[in-house]
């Protein structure tokens, strides 16, 4: 039922003020031949009780993390979200306001944006951050577009095969129709070979895109790759896992020109993939090329410090057909969540989260590798994910069986990497306990046995 106010009496009064005799007449501007002459064919209205009931039933037919122990990763993670994040981001004044077009009544949002931007620069070691993009994937393509326009090189970009395969799909979708070549450097051993990367970079190359840690959880030789990119005048774009920066070198320290990230890990639930948070930070040089909004500091007429949307001449509503980005509504609420999350965590909290992920991931890798029939696909240290090979086994069947046993055990890799058809990706966050991991190992052990027997 609509939440409208107009009672029949109101309607009468309003119509008479307008000077028409029915609501129908207000639609005179819509020619009758264009009208839908029937009610929409949609299910009937529901009150709140029914709606809640209906959706609860639908929800009950899903198995969320928590109901199953979640070891899924690949860009979306079951990290812990402190209750204060939900509470504060749920404040109506944040939640039901919009883009701060009127800074005098939007200082809450603007200051939060400014704080978010600062936090992201602290986290990444970069000079500047925007106020958000859609998600980690579209942030990668925005970075590529930025690099193309900054370098004036419209010919090609180089991307490592160990970058999230969906992010690479997005690059293809956006760039191929524009005639930009997207050169992918395979990472058959779980990380790219620096020599392969260096070879692919030439003076047509706008940028080199690396993910650190990469899609398999492993580390790329970012120093050398960055040097190779810069040597050829290309920009060095790095996609990071923000949680990893509790422990890993910050991209600003190894020469990244543009840093992008999926910010979901910073205080947002998994939400079946979105809404999430596209993070983008860059060197000062590129600030006026950055897509999306930016809050800047200034003073009001009394000289009081305050914040406004700034550098707007970059934006689509100003540049129109000359724009290099079209983003308008972005992910303000999730930038806010990330700001709250990082404020709560602080340097030490974030480091502890990262350390727990690292330790548990190593423990899990050992435990799973010890299961007969399973092995680690790559002999490399990883951060919070690793790839398991299921010898001769049917990955789909094994994972389905694990689901029945109460585990979202891993992401099968065959759909993106045919050569890894017998592999799956396991992610371990700070929420997983030793017991969770031991039980997963036991479950997979019994699965490999059953499957082995079935095959025998």
């Amino acid at each position: 039922m609509p939440y409208t106010f107009n009672t029949p009496e109101d309607q009468r009064e309003m119509l008479s003020a307008i000077g028409v005799d029915s609501i129908e007449r207000l639609f005179d501007g819509v020619p009758s031949e264009m009208r839908l002459g029937r009610p929409l064919d949609l299910p009937p209205a529901m009150g709140e009780l029914e709606l809640t009931d209906h959706l609860s039933r639908l929800a009950a037919r899903n198995s969320p993390a928590g109901e199953k122990v979640c070891f899924l990763g690949g860009g979306s993670y079951d990290h812990f979200v402190p209750a204060a994040v939900d509470h504060l981001a749920g404040r109506a004044e944040f939640y039901t306001s919009y883009t701060p077009y009127q800074p005098e009544v939007s200082q809450g949002n603007l200051q939060a944006m400014f704080e978010y931007q600062t936090l992201i620069t602290q986290l990444t070691g970069m000079d500047v951050s925007n106020a958000s993009l859609y998600d980690g994937g579209s942030a990668v393509v925005e970075a590529a577009l930025m690099a193309i326009s900054a370098t004036g090189r419209h010919g090609k970009i180089v991307v490592l095969g160990s970058v999230h395969p969906e992010y690479r799909d997005i690059l293809d979708t956006y760039l191929l129709p524009l005639g930009v070549e997207v050169v992918t450097i395979d990472a058959p051993q779980g990380a790219a070979d620096v020599a392969d990367v260096a070879k692919a970079i030439d003076d047509r190359t706008a940028c080199v895109i690396v993910q650190q840690p990469n899609f398999f959880g492993a580390y790329e030789a970012v120093d050398e790759i960055g040097r190779a990119a810069h040597g050829a005048g290309a920009l060095f774009v790095v996609s990071v896992d923000p949680i990893s920066l509790g422990l890993l070198k910050r991209p600003g320290e190894y020469g990244a020109d543009i840093v992008v990230a999926e910010g979901q890990s910073l205080g947002t639930p998994m939400l079946y993939g979105g809404p999430y948070l596209g993070i983008m930070a860059c060197r000062d040089t590129f600030v006026r090329r950055m897509p999306g909004r930016i809050a800047g500091e200034t003073v009001d007429r009394q000289g009081r410090r305050c914040w406004v949307l700034t550098l707007q001449t970059r934006e689509q509503h100003i540049r129109r057909e000359k724009a290099t980005s079209n983003i308008c509504t972005n992910q303000g609420l999730f930038a806010l969540r990330a700001a709250i999350y990082l404020s709560l965590m602080g340097p030490h909290g974030l480091r502890e989260v990262a350390e727990l992920c690292l330790r548990k991931t190593h423990y899990a890798a050992e435990r799973l590798a010890a299961v007969d029939g399973l092995s680690l696909a790559f002999d490399r240290p990883t951060f919070k994910e690793f790839v398991v090979r299921c010898e001769g086994g049917n990955v789909e069947a094994m994972l389905a069986a694990a689901t029945d046993d109460g585990f979202h055990a891993g992401v099968p890799l065959g759909r993106w990497y045919p050569q890894l058809e017998d592999c799956f990706l396991v992610a371990v966050t700070e929420k997983r306990t030793r017991d969770d991991i031991d039980r997963l190992a036991a479950c997979l052990k019994s699965q490999t046995r059953t499957l082995a027997t079935a095959h025998a």
Partner: protein
């Protein structure tokens, strides 16, 4: 009553040694970090984030929030943004663990409830649009535009392969269109060409005819347009576009005016996006999230991004194997959380309710228009759809009072300002969209304030706002100095 101490920057509230979070003890092996993490990748120190205790963080952000106007606290007639009430029920529902804690790669068998919801939403959007197929993937309206233009490009590429027709390089947009329209065209690799509006605010057919040709891929129309007017020529426009083999795109930002009354597919559009964060009451979150599902005619369906949700007997599944698809425009499924709320909205309203939404949105806008039009000129007539654009040009000329001055002064009266200086085709534009979730009393109070303001001395207005947390900020200084992050004072 605001607490300015707590509202300092979090960096200024930081003190070494404070903690807002305590993680569990390590319950696995205690090997040294050096063993686990290659030295060349290890940071020397954690990132220099601020250090705060939880109560500090809570007090800080709580106080910050009170510096915003919002729909829950104030009338927010921001034109083109459809700032309607966001029902709390949808928030509670969307937070159910069975909807919120789903991983994008968990097995379809563990997602049947959600996939059903998404499949039904696809169908409902088809019905509302009068089109045939839907992609839920785009992350916002502008993203929907871009996606649709990519779909169009793929469609034309494909067709060109068989017909050999030359490449279509142009996208036409009216001068009254939202900035995202030409920008999307540019990002999709098209040349964006502007089509003039008539003085009455409609597409200038002559100009359109002049610019429309076989290189034209798409004409992007907003209807009702950004002036709040329904362009009756839309069928004719569609015909003209189709004659040239082009496609008509509808910017659906203004769907709040015509739900259940007219369908874009029925009046000639081939593609459109929805803004569920507007029309279907997704909370705006201080600047997002949104979503930008697109609906298209059957001929375009093969090119939609993957995956889409399909129904197979009793089972719902994600269809990835769609060889003509343009691919992905974002990671994972899309802004599912926003889509869940849109589904809730549609199920809450039903066919009759949706129509009543538009009826009341249009009634409210016309009522407000009627109340102010004698004092504030509304150049495009005294009837509108869900919004109207007033102009302060005359007041400006007469008394030096600009749309900006009026907007700022409205803040003092407890009203958020309308959208100002858009659309570009109206001088000193004030674009007012009340939405249907406002009461007559609120509209009366707003109109009264607006009329009162017009009688106030110009100086009062130039100096406005007077009662907000800050007065007008120096935007030039912001842009010039570009201080976009906090730095420790030296």
């Amino acid at each position: 009553m605001r607490n300015e101490q707590a509202a300092q920057l979090i960096f200024e509230l930081s003190k070494p040694g404070r903690r807002g979070a305590h993680l569990p003890a390590n319950d696995v092996s205690e090997r040294s970090l050096a063993e686990l993490l290659p030295g060349e990748h290890a940071a020397d120190a954690p990132p220099p984030l601020p250090e705060l205790a939880e109560p500090d963080v809570v007090r800080h952000f709580t106080n910050l929030s009170t510096k915003n106007m919002s729909v829950d606290t104030h009338f927010y007639p921001l034109g083109s943004c459809t700032m309607k009430y966001n029902a709390k029920r949808n928030e509670r529902i969307a937070a159910l663990p069975g909807l919120a804690n789903l991983h994008p790669y968990q097995h379809e068998d563990t997602l049947q409830g959600l996939l059903q919801l998404l499949w039904e939403l696809q169908g409902m959007l088809c019905e509302i649009s009068g089109l045939d197929a839907v992609s839920l993937q785009p992350a916002a309206g502008a993203h929907g535009e871009l996606t649709a233009l990519m779909v169009a490009a793929a469609y034309f590429r494909d067709r060109a392969e068989s017909t050999g027709e030359p490449k279509r390089t142009k996208v036409l947009t009216p001068d009254s269109s939202h900035g995202t329209n030409p920008a999307s065209a540019a990002v999709a690799g098209f040349e964006a060409v502007t089509v003039r509006s008539t003085p009455q605010g409609f597409v200038d057919l002559d100009d359109l005819r002049a610019k429309l040709d076989r290189q034209t891929a798409v004409f992007m129309i907003t209807n009702p347009n950004t002036l709040g007017l329904f362009d009756r020529q839309v069928r004719e426009i569609a015909d003209l576009v189709h004659e040239q083999g082009g496609l008509l795109y509808l910017d659906g930002a203004n769907m709040n005016a015509i739900l259940g009354i007219a369908r874009p597919g029925d009046f000639g559009a081939d593609m459109m996006h929805f803004n569920p964060h507007k029309t279907f009451s997704g909370p705006h979150g201080g600047g997002g999230p949104g979503a930008g599902p697109i609906a298209v005619r059957a001929a375009l369906e093969p090119y939609l991004p993957s995956p889409v949700v399909e129904k197979d007997g009793d089972r719902y599944r994600l269809a990835f194997n769609r060889p003509k698809s343009i691919g992905r425009v974002r990671s994972f499924f899309g802004n599912t959380g926003v889509l869940v709320r849109a589904y809730c909205y549609l199920r809450t309203h039903g066919p009759d309710g949706l129509r009543r939404v538009s009826e009341n949105a249009v009634l409210n806008a016309n009522y407000l228009l009627a109340k102010v039009k004698d004092r504030l000129s509304v150049p495009h007539g005294d009837r509108c759809m869900h919004e109207f654009v007033a102009s302060a040009a005359k007041v400006k000329a007469q008394r030096g009072v600009s749309a900006m001055d009026i907007a700022k002064r409205l803040l003092d009266f407890g009203f958020h300002a309308p959208t100002v200086y858009f659309p570009l085709v109206v001088k000193e534009a004030m674009m007012i969209e009340p939405t249907e979730t406002e009461s007559k009393e609120t509209l009366d109070a707003f109109a009264e304030a607006l009329l009162w303001i017009l009688d106030e001395p110009a100086e009062t207005l130039h100096a406005a706002p007077h009662s907000t947390p800050i007065s007008r900020p120096d935007e030039v200084r912001a842009a010039r100095s570009a201080v976009v992050k906090w730095s420790a004072a030296v």
